[in-house]
């Protein structure tokens, strides 16, 4: 699809629309979880989707992940101002919490710090004051809890 976007101008609007319909709401929810400001999130959404479509030919060739995971990591890298290391560990919950309510406080804290702010296991272990294996375990538990909710 991306090669078609870059090489075939006539196919572009349809492909971008498809991509937008598929991923823009998810990406806006994700950006809002990081930025915590609806107005700014919308501005970032436009900028990130535009640059992703522009840069994506290179990315897709190197990519080992599916499009959404690639897009999420791309967005995270573009929002380094908000995901900086000294950013507070307990951010306000996103506008649409989705299945986050299923998690207990510690799981929510670990999941959000990794999912939205890309914090490493070692950083969280040091910040929370527990073992790295405990962080891994809590992360897996929290993902499993949310997956079970959707029947997997």
């Amino acid at each position: 699809m991306f090669k078609a976007v870059s090489n075939n101008p006539s196919a572009e609007p349809k492909d971008i629309r498809w991509f937008y319909d598929q991923y823009a709401p998810m990406l806006l929810g994700y950006i809002n979880g990081i930025v915590q400001n609806h107005q700014k999130s919308e501005e970032h959404l436009v900028a990130i989707l535009t640059s992703f479509v522009k840069d994506v030919v290179i990315l897709q060739e190197k990519s080992r992940l599916n499009i959404w995971l690639e897009l999420r990591q791309y967005a995270q890298s573009k929002l380094t101002l908000f995901t900086a290391k000294d950013h507070q560990l307990k951010p306000a919950p996103p506008l649409n919490k989705g299945r986050l309510d299923l998690l207990d406080d510690l799981q929510k804290q670990i999941f959000c710090a990794i999912y939205y702010h890309g914090k490493s296991i070692s950083y969280l272990a040091a910040a929370i004051g527990c073992d790295e294996s405990e962080i891994r375990n809590q992360l897996k538990l929290s993902i499993d809890k949310m997956r079970r909710k959707s029947g997997n």
Binding site: T50, L69, I114, M146
Partner: protein
């Protein structure tokens, strides 16, 4: 059995969350190649992460798509402008690369100067040297001819004097 342990170890979750170390990424990629069960579990997890993101999605306001399309069109227009600027230079470089095979004189329409294939240098030298040889030959034969005419003239005079 062992692969099930790895699947349950939390390695896949670290990978899809984008916080795996280089070693862990390599491990995941090799396990994905080696074990179909691991590959299937990883793909299922990736899909579930997408479903999870859908559950937390927010509908963008109307007009966002047209803003993105406008931005992309602007970028494409700028790229096309840059391509148009650099295209003649590119064409010239390409023709230089092909010059060893193609023997032609390249002329730039908007310039007073003419670019010539390097092979023409030897042709011009050969034409110059041959020109000099022909010129020298022509002068030589002209002088020879003139001398021969003078000798014929002298012989004619001599012959006339002998007849008298």
């Amino acid at each position: 059995m062992e692969i099930n342990k790895i699947i349950e170890s939390g390695l896949m979750e670290t990978y899809v969350m984008g916080i795996a170390t280089k070693e862990e990424v390599q491990q995941v990629l090799s396990l994905k190649k080696e074990y179909p069960a691991f590959k299937e579990a990883l793909e299922q997890l990736e899909y579930d992460m997408e479903v999870l993101a859908q559950s937390m999605s927010i509908e963008p306001p109307a007009g966002t798509l047209s803003k993105i399309e406008h931005e992309i069109n602007e970028i494409q227009r700028r790229n096309q402008a840059v391509q148009t600027t650099f295209e003649p230079k590119y064409r010239h470089e390409k023709s230089e690369q092909e010059s060893s095979q193609e023997k032609y004189i390249q002329v730039e329409s908007e310039s007073n100067q003419m670019r010539v294939n390097k092979a023409w240098k030897w042709i011009f030298i050969a034409v110059f040297v041959l020109g000099k040889i022909f010129l020298a030959g022509a002068i030589y034969f002209y002088l020879e001819n003139r001398q021969a005419k003078e000798q014929i003239k002298e012989l004619k005079i001599e012959l006339k004097q002998k007849i008298r």
